[in-house]
């Protein structure tokens, strides 16, 4: 009887192990499915359009069979660069303030607000951009929906990511660095900026890359403020369409090659994100060392 019992127990343990392993493999399966289904539609479409015409084409006219996504790639690039140009300095400085300057009380008031910003759905940011930021910039500069508007909005959206990641990087720098600089006669500000912050370099780079990833992938907010013209932008005040916006705008009614070209757009976006992830893992590895 006891032998049977222990046999059953062993079987149960082995079974449970398999169940857990299978559950853990689901995420691998998901990645594989996403890759297979995206590229199965994307690669034939790119082959049919021609890789050069698809990636380097300046005209996107699905009606007449012109599928060049260069304007969208440039659009994503500009908007992301703009977001970084605004979000990273402000975010990094706020992180430095929180880590090294703020009193306890101020930090306690500021931290929940940053968590709040991180939790807001992107549709809320997009709506605010549409009803506040775009009209404001239209009155000031004469153009409402533009690269500038989208960049500013995205810059605000990536702030919480930049702040929290770079703050923890700055906090992780050993206090001796700062104290050593103070002992050599540097002021508090100089010690923080020229000793502590450079020492947190790789963590801050990780924050930058995470911010870029978020900005490149953002869809709903960008679509509401960027203007969405599928042409190469002439300046930062002209409207622009990003890769993500291209998908949302046209997927609803696209068929055949047009549909596949949109899926190929997503595949290009996916490859961008994979590159960014790869960069991030490189940074993390350097951190561990």
């Amino acid at each position: 009887m006891r032998r049977i019992h222990s046999f059953l127990k062993q079987r149960k343990e082995a079974f449970a192990r398999v169940v857990f392993l299978v559950a853990a493999c689901v995420c691998v399966l998901c990645v594989a499915l996403i890759c297979i289904y995206l590229f199965a539609s994307a690669i034939p479409a790119i082959a049919e359009i021609g890789p050069l015409k698809f990636l380097g084409g300046r005209a996107w006219h699905p009606g007449v069979g012109e599928f060049g996504i260069l304007p969208m790639m440039v659009g994503s690039l500009y908007v992301t660069a703009g977001a970084v140009a605004f979000g990273v300095p402000v975010g990094l400085l706020t992180a430095i303030y929180l880590a090294k300057f703020a009193g306890k009380r101020v930090a306690r008031a500021l931290r929940p607000l940053i968590a709040l910003m991180a939790g807001l759905p992107s549709i809320i940011y997009g709506f605010l951009g549409l009803v506040v930021l775009a009209p404001l910039l239209r009155n000031l500069l004469g153009s409402g929906k533009s690269i500038l508007t989208a960049s500013l909005l995205l810059g605000i959206m990536i702030l919480p990511t930049i702040i929290s990641v770079s703050e923890s990087a700055i906090r992780a720098v050993p206090a001796q660095y700062y104290e050593g600089a103070l002992a050599l006669g540097a002021s508090h500000e100089r010690s923080v900026f020229f000793v502590t912050v450079p020492a947190a370099k790789s963590g801050i780079m990780a924050a930058l890359v995470l911010g870029i990833g978020r900005a490149v992938g953002e869809t709903m907010a960008v679509i509401m403020v960027a203007g969405n013209q599928a042409v190469l932008p002439e300046g930062i005040l002209s409207g622009v369409r990003t890769l993500t916006a291209n998908i949302v705008l046209e997927m609803g009614y696209a068929t055949d090659l047009h549909r596949e070209a949109l899926i190929a757009t997503a595949a290009v976006l996916f490859v961008f994100i994979l590159l960014i992830n790869f960069l991030l893992s490189l940074l993390k590895r350097r951190d561990v060392r």
Binding site: A23, L38, L93, T94, F101, L113, T244
Partner: protein, 285 residues
């Protein structure tokens, strides 16, 4: 000698002064932005929170958000039903069963990191190709729920893993010492001890599901009706708000919808922080 020292003291450190005010200005800007966003939406939206906005049926006049709100509930429930067991079981495998640094673990880690970086629109597109078209589910609650489940899976895995790792090894050793098997130890000892952390992760996932738009437009559709079955199309609150904002006829009501969405998401996130906070307090005892 004394004169030189005095002169040195008098010399003003411009750089330090500028740096100090620079960080203060940046912090102030962040502070002001967050307050403005919250205050503006609340001030504009709260006056429009009228009973007809919660009417039982959506019409293009009352733009009721009640059906969307209820759809959000069922969408959240369905997604969690799929994702929570998967996420928790995966984390159990990674922490309790797998050997550290084995090849399987590396592959799983890589996959979950990849998943967590994918933009939601790519999830939406994949959901459309796979669940809506290939599986022939059509625009439906189910297709949306599966898409969102994949999206929150890495988040659930990571938070559960952290919660499991924070359970002291002495618990496990005690359980093994009393003759319990691994399975019993996991379900009777480790999971209950990690429950608050796991719950906090689940609540965070709920917050993401409630706020998600891009992954849902092409999987769950935009039908402003209470979905009676998982195979029906259904707009959640965030999707509902996207359409309201896009149409632009009911700006006041859009603000009011935004207020409900914000309160919902922030309430959920706050709850997660609260639950996680209780866990750390409990751990200190």
């Amino acid at each position: 000698m004394k004169e030189a020292a005095l002169r040195k003291e008098k010399r003003f450190d411009w750089l330090s002064f500028c740096l100090r005010w620079l960080v203060r200005a940046a912090a102030l800007l962040t502070f002001a932005l967050a307050l403005f966003i919250l205050g503006y939406i609340l001030a504009k939206g709260v006056p429009y929170l009228r009973p007809e906005l919660f009417a039982r049926k959506y019409t293009s006049e009352n733009v009721s958000m009640l059906p969307a709100l209820l759809n959000t509930l069922s969408m959240t429930g369905l997604s969690l039903l799929i994702a929570a067991p998967l996420g928790v079981f995966s984390a159990v495998y990674l922490v309790e069963y797998a050997k550290r640094g084995s090849r399987v673990v590396k592959v799983i880690r890589l996959a979950s990191e990849t998943l967590s970086g994918i933009p939601s629109i790519v999830y939406g597109l994949f959901g459309m190709i796979f669940f809506v078209t290939a599986m022939r589910w059509g625009y439906s609650l189910l297709a949306g729920a599966f898409t969102l489940a994949i999206m929150v899976l890495p988040l659930l895995m990571r938070t559960t893993e952290e919660a499991l790792l924070s359970v002291p090894d002495s618990y496990r050793e005690g359980s093994f010492g009393l003759g319990a098997g691994r399975l019993r130890t996991v379900f009777r000892i480790v999971l209950p001890a990690a429950a608050p952390g796991i719950l906090a992760g689940v609540i965070l996932a709920v917050g993401r599901i409630v706020g998600e738009t891009a992954a849902l437009i092409f999987t769950a559709g935009a039908l402003e009706k209470l979905a009676q079955s998982p195979m029906r199309a259904a707009a959640t609150l965030a999707v509902h708000m996207y359409h309201l904002a896009g149409e632009g006829f009911h700006i006041g009501q859009t603000y009011a919808t935004a207020v409900v969405l914000i309160v919902l998401v922030l309430g959920i996130n706050g709850l997660s922080g609260f639950v996680a906070g209780r866990m750390t307090k409990g751990g200190k005892k």
